[in-house]
Symmetry: C2
Subunit: 109 residues, 2 copies
DNA sequence: CGCCGCTATTCAGTGATACTATGTACCAGT
DNA sequence: ACTGGTACATAGTATCACTGAATAGCGGCG
């Protein structure tokens, strides 16, 4: 992966995963798959699981263990009220930053 | 500063400073001042200098020491060819990520 | 003169987080 | 039994922004 992308994902990956969860409950494996579909193909599985563990520790998600037809049981995460709030905060922060960067990008042309 | 902002600046702060330098040569102190004008008021001075040192090590900038009328001499940084290339790469990475996030943001509403 | 305030840079130590590189485990089809 | 897809977990590493200082030159004020 581009080195720049790696660093840029810090802080945004959390928001991305949170946004995916805001659509509906999901578990690590499908989240990873969805990221790959989105073109974020180089995000390691382990990274996603680490993010989910952090969400759980911060109390942003509810967790439910559900048996899978094929493979080990899934840990299904769903966003709770606190998580939704955190996501909104994320969007505010991101929007602010994106605006500044947009200005700089326009100005630099 | 918001905790989220701190992490989100990773990888983007580099681009922001690079973008400021692309307008014209500048030194740490004024770059910090310009960031504050932009509303990025909580970026520590020390952080900006660290970024500049990294740029120098990566060979993205040319450095010139110029005496100041008031205070110690300034280290004036100007973007070189490699730096300009790096900045373009940054914009590509940023645009890609911003698009994905925009999609997720729209989709989540 | 001595102190303050502005200009200007530097650095040691800390914390958060994404990566690499594995390892574990379950099931189906051949 | 073996392969391949599903699903989760983790130890160790590197990067980078922050905090909180220290250092230094200069002008003005009492």
């Amino acid at each position: 992966m581009a080195k720049q992308m790696t660093e840029m994902l810090r802080g945004t990956l959390e928001g991305i995963v949170l946004a995916i969860l805001s659509v509906g409950p999901a578990y690590g494996y499908v989240i990873t798959a969805r990221l790959r579909e989105q073109g974020l193909s180089d995000i390691a599985e382990g990274t996603v699981y680490a993010v989910l563990v952090r969400f759980e520790q911060k109390g942003l998600v509810d967790v439910e263990k559900i048996p899978s037809e094929k493979g080990p049981p899934r840990k299904v995460y769903s966003l709770n009220a606190q998580g939704r709030e955190y996501l909104e905060e994320f969007w505010r922060t991101w929007s602010f930053l994106a605006e500044r960067l947009e200005q700089l990008h326009e100005g630099g042309k």
